[in-house]
């Protein structure tokens, strides 16, 4: 009962805020469900679990919009050393052995609920935030790369070279391990990850970001309605990134 009241109130506030925001916002700039916004001084909480749903049927071979946007947002650029250059997100092309059916999809940190990288990290630098985002605390990362050995998705990269062109919001440097942060600096400001924004901006609609804990979020509804998969579901890591169409 009180939940219903809460929900209706939330919707009402959401409508109000969205209306006001709509007046202020420029066209094309979308804000995430502002009613759920977290006040600035408050810590991320486990009432939320951020996740992503990727529809591989809408993801085109050759389209790299998400990868490009991630690179720009996070300052991850090629140095001409493909084997040592970090990749936070990459496009994987898949082909079924027998039928030859192909898929194209972005692969990045799956933000597991039971992340192996966090288990193995000797210093606790690899950690999962209360809202499910898996991060590397570079202040205490010693660069042992054990997390890279442990990750089943090859989601992590070691920074092999010095960098001095960091985005002020995204510190990164030589000698530490890094991976997709789900654009945590944007999520903390009620924005979507850069890859998702770019996918929508390109009218591909293959990526959806949202709160897996909120039954009324678009992502939860889609997961409740359609058949979705977790990559390497056999490992039971309970990934925050889900796929549709593979």
């Amino acid at each position: 009962m009180s939940n219903d009241v809460d929900n209706s109130r939330r919707k009402f506030i959401a409508a109000g805020v969205a209306g006001t925001a709509g007046l202020v916002l420029a066209p094309g700039v979308t804000l995430l469900d502002m009613a759920n916004a977290r006040p600035a001084g408050e810590a991320a909480s486990s009432t939320k679990r951020w996740g992503m749903l990727i529809d591989s049927t809408k993801c085109a071979t050759g389209c790299n919009d998400c990868v490009t946007a991630c690179g720009k947002e996070n300052g991850v650029a090629s140095t001409g050393h493909p084997e040592t250059d970090p990749q936070w997100i990459r496009k994987i092309e898949l082909k079924e052995v027998k039928s030859g059916k192909s898929h194209s999809l972005p692969m990045m940190c799956q933000h597991c609920a039971e992340p192996p990288c966090v288990d193995v990290c000797p210093t606790g630098a690899s950690f999962k935030r209360a809202d499910g985002i898996v991060l590397v605390d570079r202040h205490i990362c010693i660069g042992c790369r054990y997390c890279m050995m442990a990750c089943p998705y090859k989601a992590r990269s070691f920074v092999h070279e010095e960098h001095d062109d960091q985005n002020p919001d995204v510190p990164r440097g030589k000698g530490c391990v890094e991976s997709c942060t789900l654009c945590v600096h944007r999520v903390d400001k009620d924005m979507e990850p850069a890859c998702v924004e770019a996918c929508s901006a390109g009218n591909h609609g293959a990526m959806l970001f949202g709160d897996l804990n909120d039954a009324n979020s678009e992502i939860s509804k889609r997961i409740a309605t359609y058949a979705t998969t977790q990559v390497r579901a056999d490992l039971a890591l309970n990934t925050g990134v889900r796929y549709q169409g593979i």
Partner: protein, 176 residues
């Protein structure tokens, strides 16, 4: 038997690593206890008052930064006045657009004088974000990547700063 020059360079390297640890707050910083020694160094691009009084900052800025670092990293509490980004906003050297690119810059000015190794900027940008005042919220992707301003929503940003101010007032003397 052992090449002294080589040994010295290795020792120097170890010493540098050790001083980085000092900075990280493993031990109380002693380098600036000779206070007043370098107090003439002021480089303030904007604002007339620091987040704490100068004397306190000179001794304890690393503690404040360390505290805020964990708050932001671990809990996602952003926008505090104690953030490194906020320090850079005010203390940037207009000539170099940095706080640590040369000995003229705010951070390096003291740190090179006190011979305390600073490794914040091996990962963090020492440059401020592009000026936010009067910013046009309509940002093209190209401008975004060059301008370094990743907040594409003005209203979001304003709301953010309001909240941040309140939050930092609450946290005010949290570090001591």
């Amino acid at each position: 038997m052992i090449n002294p020059a080589k040994r010295r360079s290795v020792l120097g390297w170890l010493a540098a690593a050790l001083s980085a640890l000092l900075l990280a707050g493993v031990m109380p910083a002693t380098a600036d206890d000779e206070h007043g020694a370098h107090s003439g160094h002021k480089l303030i691009a904007k604002g007339d008052k620091c987040v704490r009084d100068e004397d306190y900052m000179r001794r304890n800025h690393m503690k404040i930064l360390m505290h805020q670092r964990d708050e932001t990293m671990r809990k996602g509490i952003r926008g505090s006045q104690d953030s490194l980004k906020n320090c850079i906003e005010c203390h940037v050297n207009p000539k170099t657009n940095s706080v640590a690119s040369s000995k003229e810059d705010f951070c390096m000015g003291c740190h090179s004088y006190a011979a305390v190794k600073l490794d914040c900027f091996e990962c963090h940008s020492s440059k401020p974000k592009a000026p936010a005042v009067g910013m046009n919220p309509i940002v093209t992707p190209e401008q975004k990547s060059e301008g370094n301003d990743k907040q594409s929503s003005l209203s979001g940003k304003m709301r953010w700063q309001m909240q941040a101010k309140q939050a930092s007032l609450n946290m005010g003397e949290g570090v001591k």
